[in-house]
Symmetry: C2
Subunit: 353 residues, 2 copies
């Protein structure tokens, strides 16, 4: 974490994502024009230099770090990382691990990002499971004006233990404070009923620890329907259930859109109705548009990692870079580290509870 | 399970549900007029007799079994069952356990039904975890013309072991064959990726067992988005993840409906658009309307238990009774028993694997 008077530097894996390398390089050029941030552009030197030649940018803020290999979205992450130790993603991770950059942004394969971080980045002491957070829109919440809430983990883990869920709460708490500017984010535990006794022993113990922690604004157990309706600013859960819930919502949206298209084909009246509703649907799209926010944070390491959506273009990646810088500047990882240390000190200094 | 020449008898907990006792009693009267089924109406004798006096019915098919107590939707299931051993639900369960009825229908509290069955009904040999199945509409599936698919478990369990998931597959297979008339229902395992290696050891072992079973039409791992888009006729999972996924979908639908209402208020054009779309929205409602189907089956016991929606009226409860009769007549529980016995015989006769 840089001191306040140090300039921030963000490593960008410019070869990752469906629209790489053009869009990530343009995003970097845009950041150099709009901010004072320094960037490490990791990828094929000649490709980056050629693309930068085409767009207005401030060269003093953009350093190229050559990486000769690329991990594609189609490759199996584990095999790809082993076969390509000098892939842009791995080189960018090593730059962060070495202290040459304060955060990392990639629009590449989620699996590869999670694995590369686990392999190459130092974890926050006391944390043995990192978490990938989903940033998703909810109905208006009383606790925050931010239309987005956080759910974690959604895929970096499968099963977790009670103390992992407490760690996830600290991660979400620190991130929501920095990025959404909520002073005391509400935290919910994803369960199958609201009573403290619901779920299995892992969930009950996590409930008890979250409930007794004065630093957290814990609102108790939440159920599946509380995710989209905005039951809390941060919802914690194991990766299996978070991943299924997130994809279930995607599937339901897809089915609704399909029904709209079918209606469009079947009746002139319905078609007219949909045209009149276009403004409302655009507003809905606006709320769920991934261009509007900066991507999904991978938390638990000593530096923030932001995974931008694979389809991200220039604006979305530039937003992800700004979010990464905000998380680094506000000391999100240091705040998580302090909270985790405090929790384990209260649990008799034991790291394995 | 009755022999083919025996008349079927269904126990109906007429005191359970938001609209009890009037609607369940009217449903029973309707069944007596429309079918040759015999029913045991379990509840307060004088209330049942008085309501039956008001509607056309065939008395020879309707036997009243007096039960002086009622478990309400608001009570804690465990405490209520202990405090009220003669609640209509418990009396109805005991009638099934004693062989006086072939199946049970209740629109009462889900938690109370699950607990009462666990306490009072004999389980199928080899099965130690029952499952509550959700019947939900999907996008058109290739494997079946039925607009509804099954997901189980959605709340009778929290965590499960690999063999429980295999049992759930047999339950869903037998039920879909009987009720949806699909000869070889497709079965999916809810996971966080499609590869056989995804998930934890419980999911991987379940995958292997499901995949090697020639009696099942196993299509592999499915993800959350495959639930509403119709990835399989039957999806198996532990109760925690099934419950969260189901409620997530309810929450997303609620948010969509809310956006519609907001649009309705905000703009005359949008209001007109929604009016023109009313036909399409009605069709959507038709597909998701719980009046159209017979309720959620609770499987794993030697007789079928059908949980009708709490808000069910006469038509929905009559449908639930017909579904319960169909499941009993088609020998769903005997088919599950044979499949489970075959599985455990193949696993070296061990019931605890």
């Amino acid at each position: 974490m840089p001191a306040d008077d140090t300039r921030l530097r963000i490593a960008v894996d410019v070869m990752g994502g469906d629209r790489a390398p053009v869009e990530p390089i343009r995003a970097a050029a845009r950041i150099s024009r709009e901010t004072t941030l320094d960037l490490l552009l990791v990828g094929k030197r000649e490709v980056i230099a050629a693309e930068l030649d085409r767009v207005d940018h401030r060269p003093a803020q953009l350093e190229i770090v050559d990486a000769r290999e690329v991990i594609t979205m189609e490759e199996k992450p584990r095999a790809a990382l082993e076969a390509k130790p000098d892939a842009s993603l791995a080189v960018a991770m090593r730059a962060v691990a070495a202290g040459d950059a304060d955060a990392l942004v990639s629009a590449g394969s989620t699996g590869a990002i999670v694995l590369a971080a686990a392999k190459l980045l130092p974890r926050i002491p006391g944390i043995d499971r990192a978490a990938l957070a989903a940033v998703y829109p909810t109905r208006k919440r009383q606790s925050s004006d931010d239309p987005f809430a956080l759910m974690l983990d959604v895929g970096a883990t499968v099963r977790v233990r009670s103390h992992d869920l407490v760690h996830f709460a600290y991660m979400g708490h620190a991130y929501a404070r920095a990025i959404s500017k909520v002073a005391r984010p509400t935290i919910g535990l994803l369960n199958m009923g609201s009573e403290p006794t619901k779920g299995d022993a892992v969930l009950r113990q996590a409930y008890a620890w979250l409930d007794e922690d004065p630093t957290l604004n814990f609102v108790g157990n939440l159920e599946g329907n509380d995710i989209p309706t905005g039951g809390a600013d941060v919802i914690v859960c194991e990766g299996y259930v978070g991943n299924v819930a997130l994809k279930m919502a995607e599937g339901v949206s897809e089915v609704f859109k399909g029904l709209g298209k079918q209606a469009f084909k079947q009746s002139l009246l319905w078609r007219l109705g949909l045209l009149l509703l276009a403004g409302g649907l655009r507003r809905l799209k606006h709320v769920t548009d991934y261009r509007e926010y900066g991507g999904a944070p991978l938390l638990g390491f000593r530096a923030p990692v932001i995974k931008a959506h694979g389809r991200s273009g220039e604006v979305a990646i530039a937003n992800a870079i700004k979010v990464a810088a905000k998380a680094a500047r506000d000391g999100v990882c240091a705040e998580i580290e302090r909270a985790v240390a405090g929790f384990h000190a209260r649990r008799d200094g034991s790291a394995g509870c």
